[in-house]
């Protein structure tokens, strides 16, 4: 279970608070969506969960399965099952996708006390998972994300997610830059990972993605706090009426 308790976050060396007392609980087996206007703190939440440097938690805590994540390095969090699918996946020239995937998969396996995958084992797993995402293994011989289209980058993120077998998946604006076919492939990939042991947090600006990844709960984030929670119908409501009523500071 993910428990975010009264989380206050600011950017290091800046005064402005971005998250101002955000509280949220996502039980295992559930998919929660976070929706909100631009600048509401959605990406900040995603980055703080994954442990990106440059953010300062001034108050509150993040517990994953009862353990605070705050003092952990990003790689330790990954070993504990946290995975962030980036809004803008990064390019790593000169490092083949397969090398990157294998290094990552074996690093988390090692930290989780599991046996590392041999090359044939790894290739078998990666081929299976890539095929489901319509990714050609030839593409994985190319450097990580270099020269990939928006859709290819997002699929490559979901492949990384599938390879690392996380238990807490955070998807930051995974729908951005995707056409409808790519969206469906990515959503299928995410849905395939849904399961009783996995919690997912889907961050999105638009309701569209939630037609494909149907959430158990929807939360509206605005002004650094959760302003409203509801079931999937809340997303449809937002699509109609917009974020207007949630703008401005919380009372």
């Amino acid at each position: 279970m993910l428990e975010i308790k009264n989380l206050h976050v600011k950017i290091e060396d800046e005064e402005r608070q971005i998250l101002k007392g955000l509280s949220l609980t996502v039980p295992k087996g559930e998919v929660h969506a976070i929706m909100g206007p631009n600048g509401s703190g959605k990406s900040t939440l995603a980055y703080v969960l994954a442990g990106r440097p440059g953010y300062e938690v001034t108050e509150g805590d993040i517990l994953w399965n009862g353990e605070s994540l705050l003092e952990m390095e990003p790689d330790e969090r990954a070993a504990k099952g946290v995975f962030l699918a980036f809004q803008y996946p990064m390019e790593i020239p000169g490092v083949a996708g397969l090398t990157f995937l294998r290094t990552a998969a074996n690093a988390v396996r090692k930290k989780r006390g599991e046996a590392e995958l041999t090359t044939p084992e790894f290739m078998k797993v990666v081929r299976e998972k890539a095929a489901k995402l319509n990714i050609d293994t030839e593409m994985l011989k190319r450097p990580v994300n270099v020269g990939f289209s928006g859709g290819e980058k997002k699929r490559s993120e979901i492949l990384q997610m599938a390879m690392l077998e996380p238990t807490l998946c955070v998807l930051d604006e995974t729908d951005s830059g995707l056409d409808i076919d790519a969206l469906r492939i990515v959503a299928d990939g995410v849905n395939a990972l849904r399961g009783p042991d996995r919690a997912m947090l889907v961050i999105t600006h638009y309701q569209r993605l939630l037609n494909y990844i149907v959430p158990d709960k929807v939360h509206v984030l605005s002004g650094g706090q959760i302003r409203k929670s509801g079931d999937k119908s809340l997303a449809l409501e937002l699509e109609k009426s917009g974020y207007k009523e949630y703008e401005g500071e919380a009372a």
């Binding site: 994954a50 442990g51 990106r52 440097p53 390095e73 990003p74 790689d75 969090r77 990954a78 070993a79 995975f83 962030l84 980036f86 996946p89 990064m90 790593i92 020239p93 000169g94 490092v95 090398t99 990157f100 290094t103 990552a104 998969a105 690093a107 988390v108 930290k111 450097p143 990384q160 690392l164």
Partner: protein, 441 residues
């Protein structure tokens, strides 16, 4: 500037050493006048120093303190050679091997004269008259390092590829240092690739286990690539110790020649990679790239002169270096576009990744353009490891040390990707990773 400078200890010792060994050097009486001429040229010029613009960052008067005696023959087993090559042993090809600058028939491939390809050690070519040492160094002007090379040269590979011959198997010119005595070597390769011929030539400089770490290597390669020839030419230096490596590549391209050059350097205390390329015909394409790794107080200088003497030629350069501790990297890239060389297309990039705030990178692009219808560009960057990419890797569970190694590999990988021979690219990648493992922050 013609100021009489006091000769350094090395400058005084070098001519004395020459007198001692001159009579024993290959080529005998035929070569002697050229050697003596080169020596007297060196004596007049002296070691290059920082007041000479091309040597601004690499002062040999300071860094070459002693003149080391020319190396003598040393035995080396095939196993010891494989060990010395390390990851490079996996690169398949026909070998011509020099131990301490002296040809080793035992370790070399037996080349038969097919008529398409002729490979011989310079020492033998001199004796048989195949190579003309009388001409060695004849028009090499004020280059003191080449003058020293011409005076002391003991051996090297003489390679000639017949017109139209396509040599698929890479030719490996392997230089190994062995034995415990401090030493200097001078080798010279003379390579001719005929019209529309294809060849891949890889020079390797490695050190045998237990060999002296006090050494000076002076290596020169003259390569003429004929009209329409396709040449891949690589030099890998993987050394260790108080070693200086002075190298010159003299590259001449014909009409429509495609030449891909690459230089990889690691482990030497002082390196100077001089590269001179001259275009002799239109529509030639040059890609001259490289990667270097320096740590401790190592110093790696690449000084390139590309002379676009004729129109419609292309040049590309990408040099990337990783600099740790107090090390220093230098890139000087001069592109000359002569008045007639219209439609020249030249691009140059030099980049350094700094692993320490005490490292230094000096990058000096020099574009001398005398034609008006050309596309020429250059760039240079200096950066530290990207924190955002570190986070990306770590968020995938990769520990910081491994993430850093991956990102260094990423940086260097962009240059290594220029190498199309997979086994060689893999070997240099693994050399880079080993280097990173051993490099302390």
């Amino acid at each position: 500037m013609n100021v009489a400078v006091i000769k350094t200890k090395a400058e005084q010792a070098i001519p004395e050493l020459f007198e001692k060994v001159a009579d024993t050097l290959p080529g005998g009486a035929k070569a002697a006048p050229a050697r003596r001429e080169a020596m007297s040229r060196f004596a007049a010029i002296g070691l290059p120093h920082r007041r000479i613009e091309e040597w601004k960052y690499t002062d040999l008067r300071t860094s070459l303190k002693d003149a080391l005696a020319p190396a003598t023959e040393a035995g080396l087993s095939a196993e010891a050679l494989t060990a010395a090559l390390g990851p490079l042993a996996a690169v398949a090809g026909d070998r011509i091997v020099f131990v301490n600058g002296i040809y080793s028939a035992v370790l070399s491939t037996k080349f038969d004269s097919s008529g398409l390809l002729n490979v011989a050690p310079l020492s033998e070519a001199l004796a048989s008259g195949l190579a003309n040492l009388g001409a060695i160094g004849a028009d090499e002007g004020q280059n003191a390092v080449l003058a020293l090379n011409a005076a002391f040269v003991t051996d090297g590979a003489v390679i000639s590829v017949a017109d139209g011959a396509e040599i698929d198997t890479p030719l490996l010119i392997v230089n190994v240092r062995a034995g415990k005595t401090a030493q200097s070597t001078a080798t010279r390769n003379i390579i001719n690739v005929g019209t529309k011929a294809k060849a891949t030539i890889i020079e390797m400089f490695v050190v045998a286990a237990g060999a002296t770490a006090n050494a000076q290597a002076n290596s020169a390669t003259e390569i003429k690539a004929g009209d329409g020839a396709e040449v891949v030419h690589v030099k890998c230096v993987s050394d260790a110790g108080e070693v200086s490596h002075l190298s010159n590549w003299l590259v001449g391209l014909g009409t429509g020649t495609v030449y891909r050059g690459f230089q990889f350097t690691s482990g030497t205390r002082v390196t100077r990679n001089g590269i001179n390329v001259t275009y002799g015909g239109e529509n030639a394409k040059l890609d001259m790239s490289g990667a270097f790794l320096a740590r401790g107080s190592e110093h790696i200088d690449t000084t390139l002169v590309v002379d676009h003497a004729v129109p419609k030629c292309e040049s590309r350069e990408l040099f990337k270096g990783v600099l740790a501790n107090h090390s220093r990297g230098i890139f000087q890239g001069k592109i000359i576009v002569r008045p007639d060389a219209q439609k020249t297309d030249g691009k140059q990039m030099a980049q350094a990744l700094m692993l320490s705030p005490d490292a230094e990178f000096d990058s000096k692009p020099e574009l001398e353009i005398y034609a008006d219808d050309v596309v020429c560009g250059h760039g240079s960057t200096v950066a530290e490891i990207d924190e955002d990419l570190m986070f990306y890797c770590q968020s995938r569970g990769i520990p910081p040390g491994t993430a850093r190694a991956l990102l260094v590999q990423s940086f260097i990988g962009e240059a290594l990707e220029k190498i199309e021979i997979e086994t060689l690219r893999d070997a240099l990648t693994s050399t880079t990773l080993d280097w990173l493992d051993e490099t302390k922050a």
